[in-house]
């Protein structure tokens, strides 16, 4: 793709999402856990009167995230997914990068497993590999 992507670290890897999806990034969020809810739902956040469902993205992507990592930073997405406002936790925010098609490659064949379907492209940037996530696929599938 061409355009700006927002990148962040999660489970030791660098991920990116198309910046048009991001509404805001919140730090030190105070959320409410939902006992009995699905394991990939972390809880609910009150964002200026809107209830935002917060997801455990690392778990959805089957990443090994250290349990002791405090989940405090999250990206809130623009718009509604299956009728809900949605956000997900990240470990660390990286930068916003301009990408061009020549930086992108389709995901290699060996990562096209179940979680691979959530990856839209792989971006090579300054010797780093950014996994570009397909937000629509992820949050429409779960």
């Amino acid at each position: 793709m061409t355009g700006k992507i927002l990148t962040f670290y999660l489970g030791g890897s660098l991920f990116g999402i198309d910046i048009v999806f991001a509404k805001e990034i919140n730090r030190n969020v105070k959320y409410t856990t939902v006992p009995g809810g699905a394991p990939h739902v972390v809880g609910l956040l009150n964002l200026r009167g809107q209830v935002v469902t917060l997801f455990h993205l690392a778990q959805i992507l089957h990443l090994n995230q250290k349990q002791e990592d405090k989940q405090t930073k999250c990206i809130i997405l623009k718009g509604l997914f299956q009728g809900d406002h949605i956000g997900f936790f990240i470990e660390k925010l990286a930068e916003v990068i301009d990408i061009t098609p020549d930086m992108c490659e389709m995901p290699p064949a060996n990562i096209k497993n179940l979680q691979g379907r959530f990856i839209s492209e792989i971006v090579k940037y300054n010797k780093e590999i950014i996994i570009l996530l397909d937000i629509n696929k992820i949050f429409d599938a779960i």
Binding site: T32, G36, G37, G43, L44, L45, R48, F55, D84
Partner: protein
């Protein structure tokens, strides 16, 4: 007709916008984008133009837009495929519409007959009329890609859903077949009239005309209503053998068949039905124009309104935080106090106003009642007058809509079972013309609607027998159940069917449905009946659907909200004190509550939380929940108090969790889950037998006493030294009187209070307190609130009003008329149970 220049100008501006919309919509079809939303939007635009134009009396515009609307309606319901020619005809009509609007003053002089005729032709023949424009052989159709089957399947699913929905609401489905003579004009008149009659009692599901033979047609209506067959027949003035009831559960196949009947000719303009089932049928010849269209209104997306509601409550929170933070600095910053105050007031007012945007006057509900009453009373041979008060009372739109069915039910119950025939009324010495009164009013943040009749009332004895027969209550239970409790049995599910109720001469048909419908949005139904005098149903409804008084409770660190609708009482058990009350049977906990065993679940178990045993306090708090006649208890760790909450729907990703019914934002800005008692009952594996545990109301300590955080008590003394306490919220006023103002009649004492004779009660006669001769200059009369009996409490001295937080009611000192005792400022205060006192005094004053 109105000819206000300014209003007409506004209409033209608005109508032109609609014309633009119609044009761009129609043109999008030229690009082969068939889109249901677009066709709906165009349809609405045409409808809007028609409605407003009719109000101003622009007949030509009405005629043309109605013709367009009719065709669009058929396209929308997929009875008509959208061809270039139809688009063309519509576009031409639209152009003409614009012309008419541009020259609004001379619009009546223009000739639109040919355009209207062309559209009518399309509408009637189902395709572009041959006469006016020959059809191309290769006439293109825009929606052939949708396979017929898929369309049908989609329709079936929708039908199925609708029928199930109707069944849940207590609707019954009827088929009405009427043979017609061949005269076409009669057919139209008949079908229009009939559809109006049916719509006054229910909803038309389908209608069509069948050719029977060369002599006449059959007109068939499929409709649903809450009324029973006999009443439905009466209400629409049909012949008994023309109506057939179709059971939703057993005859669904037949219903489907009837629903999918393709109309040879619709007996009733179908697009209207799709648009709004409650709307009267419109006809080419007849127009009904709503009067309130002229009011200055602006259409706003409901989603936007809800957004505003959210934001305003958020603003209130921010305001609270701001005020709290700045409180200590107010004196240091000159001028800030005024600013803060202004923000404070503006925010409050703004929130109130925003809340009001969802409100609608109750007249929407009232306007269909006179016709229902008129039709039914005529058919039943009863004469009565209908009185309605409080049309202007406003409440949430969605609640109003949900009230239509229960209302129809209650009114027709009153008419059928409550009110006697005129001859009978005469014989009983009553006015032969009966009276039904419907009164709506605001009271204490709620809307109260009374539906009163002066009919026969409910025969408690017969209800009792019926309940015994049906096994709803046991023989021994029947002995000590109070009359009002007994009357409430008519709300029990399955209490009565048609035949049983007509024996009882009371009511009861589907009253359980009425109750569950009302309770669904947090309302309460009360029943007051007096044999021979009449019956009153009182509906207590929340102002808005979204705001529900709830109890905030906690398990571990998690806060939850529990709507108070089903909360019966709160039981506290202190360890080691009443050990016998909470026991284990087969690893399940039960509570002994006034001699009955109540199943108990721990909220932590139900929602899958770890129980925190270390922090267990010596007090066990149990919320007693009552759903219909099933009672169970929920143990929670802590109760934080009461809040009026704005309940938001569950996020879709959490919908499968059955123990919650929604989400809410608490006063401190944090989110709490709203508990669903039904879900808890099923998650807690509670299987109820029909004989639920019935708790006796008289012993229930008023819920308010336990959970209101801040309460005011009025402390006073009667003749003795004991200090008595009464909730300030229960007191209307306190008057100072001198003893000579008290007059004795018989052995009772009266006081003339502003022209009203008030009976005085001396508490020492009812309470276990010392009684001494009074000798004082002054006495005080406490008038309780909501007191229709004109009673006052005569006391010697008013001590104080005190503010206490979380009142601890102790049960050490017990006695009739006492709620218990508490300690305030190191003195014992006896809490008076006002209800019981009033009851005792009434009992006392009845001879024998």
């Amino acid at each position: 007709m109105l000819k206000d220049e300014k209003l007409i100008q506004e209409f033209v501006v608005e109508a032109k916008e609609h014309v633009e919309k119609i044009e761009s919509g129609l043109l999008s079809f030229e690009q082969k984008e068939y889109d249901e939303n677009v066709i709906n939007a165009i349809f609405r635009s045409a409808h809007n133009i028609k409605g407003t134009a009719g109000f101003f009396g622009f007949q030509k515009i009405v005629e043309l837009s109605h013709a367009m609307e009719s065709v669009l309606g058929k396209i929308r319901s997929r009875e008509l495929a959208l061809t270039f020619d139809i688009v063309d005809a519509l576009l031409m009509a639209n152009d003409e519409l614009r012309e008419l609007l541009d020259h609004i003053t001379i619009s009546e002089e223009r000739d639109i007959a040919s355009l209207v005729k062309r559209l009518q032709h399309i509408y009637i023949s189902g395709k572009e009329a041959q006469l006016i424009e020959p059809l191309d052989a290769g006439d293109e159709i825009f929606i052939p890609e949708i396979p017929q089957k898929a369309v049908k399947k989609h329709k079936d699913d929708a039908d199925n859903k609708m029928i199930i929905e109707l069944g849940k609401k207590g609707h019954k489905i009827y088929k009405y077949v009427h043979a017609l003579d061949s005269q076409q004009s009669d057919v139209e008149r008949f079908s229009t009239n009939m559809s109006k009659s049916i719509q006054s009692i229910g909803t038309i599901l389908n209608s069509y005309i069948r050719n029977k033979n060369s002599f006449g047609n059959m007109i068939i209506f499929l409709f649903s209503t809450v009324l029973e067959k006999e009443l439905a027949i009466m209400a629409i003035g049909a012949n008994a053998r023309e109506i057939e009831e179709l059971s939703i559960s057993t005859q669904s196949a037949e219903i489907f068949q009837l629903l999918s009947e393709t109309e040879e000719k619709s007996a009733y303009p179908k697009e209207e039905r799709l648009l709004n089932t409650k709307q009267k049928a419109l006809d080419f010849s007849e127009e009904k124009i709503k009067n309130d269209l002229v009011e200055e209104r602006i259409k706003v997306d409901v989603a936007l309104l809800n957004n505003l509601v959210n934001l305003s409550s958020e603003m209130v929170l921010a305001r609270n935080q701001l005020l709290r933070l700045l409180e200590s600095h107010v004196d240091g910053i000159p001028g800030i106090r005024a600013v803060l105050q202004k923000i404070d007031h503006t925010t409050t007012e703004m929130q109130e106003k925003i809340m009001r945007t969802r409100m609608q006057p109750i007249s929407i509900l009232f306007h269909s009642i006179p016709r229902l009453v008129r039709d039914l009373s005529k058919k039943l041979g009863k004469s009565l007058t209908l009185k309605m008060e409080g049309k202007e009372v406003e409440m949430d739109k969605s609640i109003l809509e949900g009230l239509i069915d229960p209302f129809t039910h209650l009114i027709r119950n009153a008419l059928d079972h409550g009110i006697e025939k005129p001859e009978r009324r005469k014989a009983l010495g009553k006015d032969p013309t009966a009276m039904i009164e419907i009164k709506a009013r605001h009271e204490g943040g709620r809307v109260i609607i009374d539906i009163m009749d002066d009919g026969a009332g409910i025969d408690i004895e017969k209800v009792k027998q019926q309940a015994l027969q049906e096994g709803l209550i046991g023989q021994d239970e029947a002995m000590d159940i109070s009359d009002s409790k007994m009357a409430e049995l008519v709300f029990s599910p399955g209490f009565s069917t048609v035949s049983q109720v007509s024996d009882i001469s009371g009511r009861g048909v589907g009253l359980d449905v009425v109750r569950s419908n009302i309770e669904k949005f947090g309302g309460i139904v009360e029943l007051h009946t007096l044999k021979g005098k009449g019956t009153t149903f009182r509906l207590l409804l929340p102002l808005t659907l979204a705001i529900i008084p709830s109890l905030i409770l906690a398990v571990g660190k998690h806060n939850f909200a529990l709507p108070q609708t089903h909360l019966q009482e709160i039981v506290r058990i202190v360890d080691g004190k009443e050990t016998g009350r909470l026991q284990w049977i087969q690893e399940r906990r039960v509570l002994q509550l006034r001699g009955k065993l109540v199943p108990i679940v721990h909220l932590a178990d139900v929602i899958g939380l770890e129980k925190n045993f270390e922090a267990t306090s010596p007090i066990t708090r149990i919320l007693i929940i009552k759903i219909a006649r099933r009672t169970f208890g929920i143990i929670v760790d802590a109760i934080h108090g009461q809040e009026e909450l704005l309940v938001k729907p569950m996020p879709n990703h959490l919908k499968e969790v059955k123990v919650y019914s929604g989400v809410t934002i608490l006063g401190d800005g944090s989110i709490a889950m709203v508990l669903d008692v039904d879900g808890i009952a099923s998650m807690g594996n509670l299987v109820f037998s029909e004989e639920g545990v019935e708790s006796s109301q008289s012993e229930v300590v008023s819920l308010e006493n336990q959970i209101q955080e801040m309460q005011y008590l009025l402390l006073f003394q009667c003749s003795g030294p004991e200090i008595l306490g009464l909730h300030l919220s229960m007191i209307a006023r306190v008057n100072e009187i001198s003893p000579h103002q008290i007059e004795e009649v018989g052995n009772k004492q009266y006081y003339n209070s502003q022209g009203n004779i008030m009976q005085l009660i001396r508490l020492e006669q009812y309470l276990p307190v010392a009684s001494k001769e009074q000798s004082g200059e002054k006495m005080y009369v406490i008038t309780p609130k909501g007191n229709n009996l004109s009673l006052g409490l005569l006391v010697r001295a008013i001590k104080d009003t005190v503010q206490v937080d979380s009142l601890m009611v102790k049960e050490d000192i017990q006695g009739k008329g006492l709620l218990g005792s508490t300690i305030i400022n190191e003195k014992i205060v006896l809490l008076v149970d006002l209800h019981e006192i009033v009851e005792m005094s009434v009992r006392n004053s009845i001879p024998n």
